[in-house]
Symmetry: C2
Subunit: 324 residues, 2 copies
DNA sequence: TTGTAAGCGTTATCAG
DNA sequence: CTGATAACGCTTACAA
C-alpha cells in the first residue's frame, strides 16, 4: 500500500488535485496527454485513492449491511455467499451483522451502519424487531416478512412450502405426525408451520410439536420424551438439519425411515444428501433469491420506481428417499 | 436516524463544535453544566456522529477485514461467528470477503480494504496467495500457515490432528486405508494429510487418496471408482462433511461402519453427530482459536510488543461411534 | 480543458 | 475549560 495522497500525485504530475481526481474518476474533458501523464505517475507510485475521503464527500460507502440472526444455518450461509458474490460484481461489499435475535445488538448494529454512510440494508430478523426498520433512511430489503414503511419485502413461499410438505405426508397416509422446529423467533419457520397446519387441517389431522433449542442434545431429549407418549409415522422438520437429526434418533429407536416413518425437511441443503436415507425436502432457489434481493436493492439505491414492494418467490418439493 | 450535524448541535447548545466533540468523545476538561447542556440537545435531537468523518481524520475505521475462501465450511462459519462476536465486544465490526481462492478477487478485496482505513486483517488463504500479505500496512493475522513478513500466524495443530487420526486407524488394525480430501488448495487439509502420512509411514502403511471437488456427486464418483479397485477398512477425511458422505456411500456399498470400516473426520462439527454412526473426529476449540486471534489482533492494532508470532493451538480427538 | 477554492463532518492544535 | 481555525483526503462548483 502506497502512502501517497492525491496532492502528491498532482505535484509529481505537475497538475492540480482536481485534474488527478478527474482522471481517476474517468471523467471526460481531460486531454489525452495529461491523462497519460497522471496515469503514469499513478502506476509508478501505486497510488490508490482513500475511499473514506471519497465516502465522506459523496455520502455513500459502497457498503451494504447484512443483518441476520446467525450464519450457522446452511441456507443463510449460502444466501450470504451468493449475495456477497452478486454485490461484489456491482462494486459493493457487505458488512455482516450477526444478531442472535438480540434487539439491543441489532439496534447497535443498525445505528453503527447508519452512521457510516451505508448504501443499503438487507435484514433478516424476528417479527418483534421489525419496528427498528420502519423509518430508515436507506433502502431496506426485509427478508421473509412484511414490514410497514418503505422497505421492500422479499421472501420465498414458506407457507406453500409447509403446505406441500403437509400434503405429501397426508398422501403417504401418515396419521401420527410430528413437527420438529426451532424455538427461535424464526419467521420463515413459523410461516412453514402455518402452511403445514393448513394442509393437515384440511383432512382433519393435527400434529405434535417438538421444539429444538440451538443445542441438538436438547432436541434429542425433547424428541425422545414425545416419542415415549406418542406414536409417529410422519415428520416435518423446518430445516434439513432438524430432519437429519430426527432421522437418526428415530432409527436409533428402532423405527425405519421411510418404511415406518416419512420425513420431510426444508432447504435442500447438503445435509439432505448425506443422510441415509436422503431427505425429501423443500427447495428454495438461492440464486434467484439473491438476484432478486440485488435487483430491488440496487433499484432502491438508484431511486428507480418499483412495481412491487412485496415479492414471493416459488419453492418446490424435492422428493428423495425419506418419503418413499 | 437524525440528519443533524455537529454544527447544528453546537449552535443549539450555544457552544462550539469543538466542545460538542469533546463531550461526545468523553473528554475530560468539560464543565459539568456545559456537558449536560450538550448532552440534553444530543438526546433531544437523537444526534449520532458521522463515523466516516471521524474515520477520515483518525485514520481508523473500527473495521476488521476477514478474508476467507468461503463460508460453507461449518468450522469456518463458526469461526467467523465467534470472531465477529468477540470483535463486537471490542467495538469493531467485520467486513467479510469470500475469495473462493481466486487471487484477483483476493487482491481486489485487499486493496479495497486497505483504501478504507481498516484497522486489521484476518486471512485464510492458499499458500500461493500469501505473498499478497507480506507487506501490508495493518496488523495481519494469518490463519493456518506461516508467512514471512510482519504477520502473526495462528493455527490449530493440523499436523498433529492428522497424526492422531493415523495412529487411531493403525490401532484399529486398519490396513487398507482411504483418505478423502478436498481438491482446493486448503493448507489446513494438507497439513492434516502430512501428519496422517507420518503416522502411517511409521508402521510402513500407505493410503489411497480420493479427491473431492466442491460438488458432492463428484466425490461420490471418485469414491466408487476407487472402491472398485481397492478394498477399504479405514478412512480419514479432512472434514466431517466428507467423512459423513463417505460413511453414507460405504454403507450403500454394503460395508458396515464401524464393523468393516473405521472412519475419522475432522472438525467435531454438528455433522459428526447427525450421522449413523456418529463420527470420531478431531476437535479444535473454536472459542480459544477466536480469542487468540482477537488477542493478537488487538495487540497488533495497539502496537503492543508480542512474545510470539507463531501460535499453534492444541487439538484433541473425540471418539464417537465410527471407530469402535 | 484546467486550476482555485470551497466544502464533506469530524477531531486536533493552539490560543485565550 | 472553551473557541477559532486548521487539518483529514478527496470531489466539485466556479472561474479562467
Amino acid at each position: 500500500m502506497s502512502n501517497f495522497k492525491m496532492a502528491d500525485i498532482a505535484k509529481m504530475a505537475g497538475v492540480s488535485k482536481a485534474t488527478v481526481s478527474r482522471v481517476l474518476s474517468g471523467h471526460k474533458y481531460v486531454s489525452p496527454e495529461i491523462r497519460k501523464r497522471v496515469l503514469d505517475v499513478v502506476l509508478d507510485t501505486g497510488y490508490k485513492p482513500n475511499l473514506i475521503a471519497r465516502s465522506l464527500i459523496k455520502s455513500e460507502s459502497h457498503t451494504i449491511g447484512f443483518i441476520v440472526p446467525s450464519n450457522d444455518d446452511e441456507v443463510i450461509a449460502t444466501l450470504i455467499r451468493q449475495v456477497e458474490h452478486n454485490l461484489i460484481e456491482e462494486g459493493y461489499r457487505i458488512t455482516i451483522c450477526l444478531t442472535g435475535y438480540n434487539r439491543d445488538k441489532e439496534q447497535k448494529f443498525l445505528d453503527d451502519l447508519l452512521q457510516s454512510n451505508i448504501d443499503g440494508l438487507i435484514v433478516l430478523t424476528s417479527r418483534e424487531n421489525t419496528s427498528l426498520y420502519q423509518d430508515v433512511s436507506v433502502p431496506v430489503i426485509m427478508l421473509d416478512q412484511y414490514i410497514s414503511g418503505g422497505a421492500v419485502t422479499i421472501t420465498t413461499d414458506n407457507y406453500y412450502g409447509g403446505y406441500l410438505a403437509g400434503k405429501r405426508l397426508v398422501k403417504n397416509g401418515c396419521k401420527n405426525i410430528f413437527v420438529v422446529t426451532t424455538s427461535s423467533p424464526d419467521v420463515a419457520a413459523s410461516e412453514r408451520l402455518s402452511g403445514f397446519s393448513q394442509a393437515l387441517s384440511e383432512v382433519r389431522l393435527s400434529y405434535e410439536t417438538v421444539q429444538c433449542k440451538s443445542q441438538l442434545r436438547h432436541c434429542e431429549k425433547a424428541l425422545i420424551k414425545t416419542l415415549a407418549i406418542k406414536k409417529v409415522d410422519g415428520v416435518f422438520a423446518t430445516s434439513d438439519l432438524f430432519a437429519a437429526f430426527t432421522n437418526k434418533i428415530l432409527e436409533q429407536q428402532g423405527l425405519r425411515v421411510p418404511e415406518d416413518v416419512s420425513i420431510i425437511g426444508y432447504g435442500n441443503t447438503t445435509i439432505s444428501d448425506i443422510t441415509r436415507p436422503s431427505l425429501t425436502t423443500i427447495s428454495q432457489n438461492i440464486e434467484t433469491f439473491s438476484q432478486t434481493i440485488m435487483d430491488y436493492l440496487l433499484a432502491g439505491i438508484h431511486k428507480k420506481p418499483m412495481k412491487k414492494r412485496f415479492i414471493i418467490l416459488p419453492i418446490e418439493m424435492i422428493e428423495k428417499e425419506s418419503t418413499q
